[in-house]
């Protein structure tokens, strides 16, 4: 509990540029509960950081759309697979 308050207080003492870096870190490696609380409180009253949070969420959603589009693409066409099989087999045996 003490750690939670310490983390939240540390985050609340940060500047907006540091909050921006913290939001990016959240997407990569996650934050502690206290850091999340501090960030949530800050974004409640900071318009700039709230806008950044929304932008990052929109970017994640777009990346998700692109991921689904790539996943839905057809795989190797049979004729390409056949050509590649012959070529890589020959090269691999060299």
């Amino acid at each position: 509990m003490i750690r939670l308050f310490q983390d939240a207080a540390r985050v609340l003492g940060m500047r907006c540029d540091e909050h921006a870096q913290l939001m990016n870190r959240e997407l990569e490696s996650g934050l502690t509960r206290g850091e999340r609380v501090g960030l949530w409180v800050h974004t409640r009253y900071c318009r700039g950081c709230r806008g950044l949070k929304r932008q990052l969420a929109a970017l994640e959603a777009m990346a998700g759309s692109l991921r689904r589009a790539v996943d839905a693409e057809p795989g190797l066409p049979p004729e390409v697979r056949e050509r590649l099989a012959v070529r890589v087999r020959t090269e691999a045996e060299k």
Binding site: R15, C16, D17, E18, A20, Q21, N24, R25, L27, E28, S29, C46, R47, G48, C49, G51, L52, R54, Q55, L56, A57, A58, L59, E60, A61, M62, A63, S65, L66, R67, R68, A69, V70, D71, E73, G75, L76, P77, V80, R81, R83, L84, A85, R87, V88, R89, E91, A92, E93, K94
Partner: protein, 236 residues
């Protein structure tokens, strides 16, 4: 565990005087290995190559060169992580492909984000922030998910901006966010630290947000060399 990293594959490729070290697997094993990769991971490699180049002949060349480079360097039978490792090899091949096609114009070009020392615009005291770390201009609204723009339109907008990213940023963003490779696996595959990956992702997101905010016209384009790699598709 694979015995070689994608960077070592690149190094082996580049060293034409001494092609492949002999202690690797024998030709029978190599053939079986490359056939199994083509069978099990060919579709994933093809989708990745097609998504990046949108050109079937280039994609076919990339799949072939990836498989051959990988089998030349693999010293032991792969684990289930083979797909991620192969995607890592392919990401280097794709970066090489674009470097060969579009040499960056001038080393002194402003806002080059492929400079490893370049700080992102969100870094303290830079870009959108004052010297005191306050916003100069609040980030604007991007197209909201499930709003008027369809998923296809959103994908196209993002892809257009990604094509303007420098190769080092483009590579990690594709692997992490589009191909769904975990952070640990990207770090292992590209042989970079977690901090380096985090920094690259931060820079990529910053450039992409700015590009999207500018409607696909600014941001990443200014931050890279000014060349648009999507030009490959248009020229064909």
């Amino acid at each position: 565990m694979l015995g070689t990293t994608p960077e070592q594959v690149e190094a082996a490729d580049a060293d034409e005087a001494s092609p492949v070290p002999s202690p690797g697997p024998g030709s029978e094993v190599r053939r079986a290995l490359v056939e199994s990769w083509l069978r099990d991971h060919g579709d994933a490699l093809w989708r990745y190559a097609m998504a990046r180049t949108r050109h079937p002949e280039t994609a076919e060349d990339l799949v072939q060169s990836t498989l051959l480079a990988a089998v030349s360097a693999a010293s032991v039978v792969p684990t289930p992580a083979a797909r991620v490792w192969l995607l890592g090899v392919m990401s280097h091949k794709i970066a090489d492909h674009y470097r060969a096609q579009h040499r960056r114009p001038s080393a002194g070009a402003p806002h080059r984000t492929d400079d490893p020392d370049h700080e992102p615009a969100d870094a303290p005291g830079q870009g959108r922030f004052t010297a005191h770390g306050m916003w100069v201009r609040a980030p604007a609204e991007l197209p909201a998910p499930d709003a008027r723009a369809t998923h296809a339109e959103q994908s196209a907008a993002l892809r257009a901006c990604m094509e303007k990213l420098p190769p080092t940023l483009d590579q990690v963003f594709w692997l992490r966010e589009v191909m769904g490779v975990s952070a640990d696996q990207v770090c292992a595959s590209l042989r970079i630290s977690a901090a380096n990956l985090w920094q690259r992702m931060h820079r990529a997101r910053t450039a992409l947000r700015e590009c999207l905010e500018a409607g696909g016209e600014g941001g990443a384009a200014e931050r890279g060399s000014g060349e648009h790699r999507g030009g490959e598709e248009r020229r064909r």
